[in-house]
Symmetry: C2
Subunit: 199 residues, 2 copies
């Protein structure tokens, strides 16, 4: 049963397709948009089509960008010899927020996941190999998530990159800053113990 | 600092303007849209502009509609003598879901709220008076929310409609079905006691 005008229902349906947006929230968002000034609604729609049309992946690091090379790859101040491999563009943003990493990135756009039928050829591994072969990369930091698929992808990459004779590192495991020991799982605690350092 | 391509940032900004959508969720939604097939993104944008352009208020009940008269007002099977007055189009949907109410609605599009500078002339009260004067309305059910502003609006309307000599009712107060008595506030419980019925 539809209780709203057809175009309102269509709008609610579209919002409800978004991840994590249920029917009620979709309703709330749709009514918000209906109450917007016409120009604001136009701008919102324009942002969707605009972003979808203009965004593609950087030739080099595969991150999403509007230009041929992304701002990070085209910045001469960055250290091109160090490449941080991440699964997702959002991870690049996470690293950039630290303001600590000065190297370049490589975005895989996924992790190897046999259960979801995602093999090594479905993510941007070929482009990574090509970069390492062509550019003077000295270190590859594998920064996939510390979950099953991220670990498997890291292992696979480490083996694949070994013949290049470059440094291959993985992010340190340990207790998160500000965490409480009592709430930390045993695996993390074991890793933190293994990785302990002299003070 | 912007960590994403400009058009991606624009899209995230637009999502973040929606009510109840924070920056992180906006990011997630924006990336979802970027991963949609082009046609789906187009359809989403189209739904926004389409709904915003075609939706207006029903001549009679002021509910949102695509046509001159909304489907409820133009349905001859509905009882035009009973008008249920609600604050918001979403409230119409709530009543329609019960499948119990056979009358028509009147959507005020707000409640009287001196704190927010919303007076009786800012909501669709004039249209309600006109309807009662012109059509053969026998009963007005005031179904504004049971909060301060909803109550004040109900009181105001009741006084305003008195001269018409028609039946003016308000929704019953009481304990919600499935509720637990221990969690119900005293005011509601008092009202439930006052409104008790013979079994």
């Amino acid at each position: 049963m539809n209780y709203f005008a057809p175009s309102v229902e269509t709008l609610i349906d579209e919002f409800a397709k978004l991840p994590g947006i249920g029917r009620k929230t979709a309703q709330r968002l749709a009514f918000h948009v209906l109450n917007l000034p016409e120009a604001d609604a136009q701008r919102f729609a324009q942002a969707i089509t605009g972003a979808r049309a203009s965004v593609h992946t950087c030739q080099k690091c595969q991150n999403l960008t509007d230009s041929d090379l992304c701002p990070i790859c085209s910045n001469p101040a960055r250290d091109a010899q160090t490449v941080c491999v991440v699964a997702d563009p959002k991870d690049v943003a996470a690293f950039e927020k630290t303001r600590e990493f000065k190297g370049l990135y490589h975005v895989l756009h996924g992790t190897i996941s046999p259960l979801n039928n995602i093999g090594p050829e479905d993510i941007r591994i070929r482009e990574l190999l090509q970069r390492i072969a062509e550019d003077n990369v000295q270190e590859v930091i594998i920064a996939t998530n510390p979950d099953t698929e991220g670990e498997a992808t890291a292992m696979y990459l480490a083996r694949l990159l070994k013949p290049f004779g470059i440094r291959i590192t993985r992010l340190a495991y340990g207790i998160p800053v500000g965490g409480h020991l009592e709430y930390i799982d045993e695996v993390t605690l074991t890793r933190a113990l293994e990785g302990r350092r002299e003070l």
